[in-house]
């Protein structure tokens, strides 16, 4: 079954006296990466959390999938912090979802090991998170997201705490491994959005509105320093700073 197109509609978010979102609507195309850019506090993380079913107080929204099935239980979530459980080894962190659903099978461990090896962490299965570097930990977090094997993935600035080179490598890995999934990537880095997004929106204003989408021609992950990207980068920069 192909990953669904997901529509978030009628989203409202009140924060004190301010209306951060009002009758907001966002469409995530099935099997594509949608990137959401915006300044801090504009409400982009709230949009992602509503979608992931993590709504806080004061939020209302409707989600709809074009295949008619509910979104709940079909979305994986990856945050800026790796959120690895420090008492579990790398592979047990990857398979934590199965453990939490109380359906952990012997084959899960093997699949977890394969995912780790695929992301360049072969031989580190039994290492504790505290012994891994920041980049390695975020790879484990990516493996955990992939382990969930959900058609929709919500990522909240997943690479922003990493150094430039590690970030570049992880962007590439994520783009390859999540190819064909419906992805929402929230980021504050225009270059990251341009590298990874099929469709890029800037969220701005109060209540927040989406700008006109950018759709770079090439398939992601796009290489650094591509002339078209540089052009679009300037355009995005203007939208963000406006």
């Amino acid at each position: 079954m192909p990953p669904p197109t997901v529509t978030l509609s009628n989203a409202s978010l009140r924060y004190g006296p301010r209306n951060l979102l009002d009758n907001f609507r966002l469409v995530l195309q099935g099997g594509k990466w949608t990137c959401l850019l915006g300044q801090s506090g504009v409400g982009k993380t709230s949009v992602l959390r509503v979608l992931a079913g993590l709504a806080g107080t004061g939020v209302t929204a409707e989600t709809h999938c074009d295949d008619g099935l509910p979104l709940k239980g079909r979305i994986a979530y990856m945050a800026q912090q790796d959120m690895l459980l420090p008492w579990h080894s790398a592979v047990n962190n990857v398979t934590i979802g199965a453990r939490l659903r109380q359906e952990l099978h012997a084959t899960d461990r093997k699949r977890g090991q394969e995912l780790l090896a695929d992301l360049g962490l072969g031989g580190h299965e039994d290492d504790l998170p505290a012994t891994l570097s920041g980049g390695m930990r975020q790879r484990v977090a990516l493996a955990r997201t992939l382990f969930e094997a959900k058609p929709v993935v919500a990522m909240d600035e997943p690479f922003s705490a990493l150094d430039a080179i590690t970030r570049y490598q992880l962007q590439g890995l994520a783009a390859q491994r999540l190819q064909g999934s419906t992805v929402l990537l929230v980021t504050h880095d225009p270059m990251e959005a341009l590298r990874l997004g099929h469709r890029i929106y800037v969220l701005s204003g109060l209540p927040a509105q989406l700008g006109a989408p950018l759709e770079p021609n090439q398939a992601p992950p796009r290489p650094h320093g591509d002339p078209q990207l540089m052009c679009l980068h300037a355009e995005l920069w203007d939208q963000l700073a406006a």
Binding site: G73, A79, P86, I96, R99
Partner: protein, 259 residues
């Protein structure tokens, strides 16, 4: 690691020998009568002479401490879970908890002996009372401060409330709980001995009072040292068990390589 362990053993032995030496020197220099402060050598002699009796009484006190500790830990963790998961209970239970700690256990000891008798029960109750609060407070604190991100992640993974408790909240609360357990292990002997002082017919506390009344100060010291050796052993055993359980917790006071 082995070298580290050995150097620790050497440190402990040196400290003990040093203290004994100071004790002996004080006895020599001040020439206090032996019924005020007996020399270490005399205490050792008294211990040897009364070994059977000391060990019998020690057994009673050890049972009181260990049973009190186990019951207190179970009760403390159960209370912390109740406080965490039942909001209405929290409003009623927190004041009771604070009162249980504000009332000095020493003041309750005579009542407990009156109600529960001269046997083990009143001493176990004392030990439970004295460790209940630190365990409950530490465990509740740990359960309350589970990082939001872990809970978010679990929510997107369709985890049941029980699975979150079992796999995230409880293990996450272990470091905090361990601090409470360490305090509890250190103070549990106080509860048992105070209970024995107030009213009992057995136990090291009883033996100390008994010896005191007969001016057998060397026997008193022998009982005191027996209690101290057991209390210290219990503490270090518990500490080692907790460290083993929390092997994943990085000790940031020890040198480590970053990245």
């Amino acid at each position: 690691m082995a070298i580290f362990e050995r150097s620790r053993a050497i440190t402990a032995a040196t400290t003990t020998a040093g203290l004994l030496l100071v004790w002996q020197l004080v006895v020599w220099v001040s020439a206090v009568p032996h019924y005020i402060l007996p020399a270490p050598w005399d205490v050792l002699g008294a211990w040897w002479a009364h070994a059977g009796r000391l060990l019998d009484h020690a057994e009673v006190t050890i049972i009181e401490i260990v049973v009190g500790l186990i019951l207190g830990l179970m009760l403390g963790v159960a209370s912390a879970l109740t406080l965490t998961y039942f909001r209405p209970v929290r409003r009623w239970m927190l004041p009771v908890l604070v009162v249980s700690q504000a009332l000095p256990v020493f003041a309750l000891a005579p009542l407990l002996v009156l109600w529960l008798g001269y046997g083990l029960a009143s001493k176990i109750a004392m030990a439970v009372l004295i460790i209940y609060f630190p365990v409950t407070a530490a465990c509740y604190d740990g359960l309350r401060h589970t990082p939001r991100g872990w809970l978010d992640l679990a929510a997107t993974m369709d985890a049941s409330a029980f699975a979150v408790l079992r796999h995230i909240r409880l293990p996450g609360a272990l470091p905090a709980l361990a601090s409470g357990v360490r305090v509890a292990t250190a103070v549990a002997p106080i509860g048992a001995v105070v209970g024995e002082w107030v009213g009992s017919s057995a136990g090291l506390g009883y033996l100390m009072l008994h010896a005191n009344a007969r001016m057998q100060v060397d026997l008193m010291f022998a009982a005191l040292i027996t209690l101290a050796v057991f209390a210290v052993t219990l503490y270090f055993a518990m500490d080692a068990a907790l460290k083993r359980l929390l092997h994943w917790q990085a000790d940031t006071t020890s040198p480590t390589s970053e990245d």
